[in-house]
Symmetry: C2
Subunit: 147 residues, 2 copies
Amino acid sequence: MADILHRVGVEHSSPERVYAALTTVDGLSGWWTEQTSGVAEVGGVLEFRFAAGGFDMKVVELVAGRRVCWEVVDGPPEWVGTVVRWELRQEGDFTIVVFAHEGWREPVEFMYHCSTKWAVFLLSLKRFLETGVGAPDPRDVRISDWH
Amino acid sequence: MADILHRVGVEHSSPERVYAALTTVDGLSGWWTEQTSGVAEVGGVLEFRFAAGGFDMKVVELVAGRRVCWEVVDGPPEWVGTVVRWELRQEGDFTIVVFAHEGWREPVEFMYHCSTKWAVFLLSLKRFLETGVGAPDPRDVRISDWH
């Protein structure tokens, strides 16, 4: 098993604001993909669509202002069954976002791509909260031939 | 053991140009840190310095236009003994850079930070080669309270 790990700090925000950007369709549309729909409550399924396909995430855990956990229930075969975890806390002027996309069966090259692309979207989340303008798909930063 | 993995594609470049950016002091200064010095040949040690410390990397393998491998011989205790590998190949208009920072003893929170920060520097490498202007330290993108 292999994991993608990231950490960013959002300045002049709060765990509650970051949590809202991870747990509402409006928030998620502001930094990950404009084509976000579905049910953001525990047991609900969020549908994220991109130019090149998409993912369905079941919301498995929510702790207000502290933790969000999704399980991938549909999408590329390498993603199905993996888990995405978000942990939030405040440190001085920064809301710290500790991110893990866990449980990849093999470190295939697609995982290398997704690791870099998650970093790009975490920086989009940071910018969305700090400035009001993120870079969700289709306005996301292209990193390679795989988009 | 845990690994940081990334993949980017550099457009309108070549494996030889990317290789030069990874194996010369001038190249490395253009995208990672302006304070780069040392010996870039196999067996030599490259010294990378940042506002908040730095790393010494022993060059352990070089295959022109294809592969670069460093071992961390000095720096933060979590880094010492880890290995940084770069694999290059051409795919259509993109030079594909497959990156791994391998052998972390534990997935400590500093590893999460370094994973995101490596993505930022890989995008700096991409921009350096595509436009001539990278974002090396001290002009790098700040991602959190840990810089």
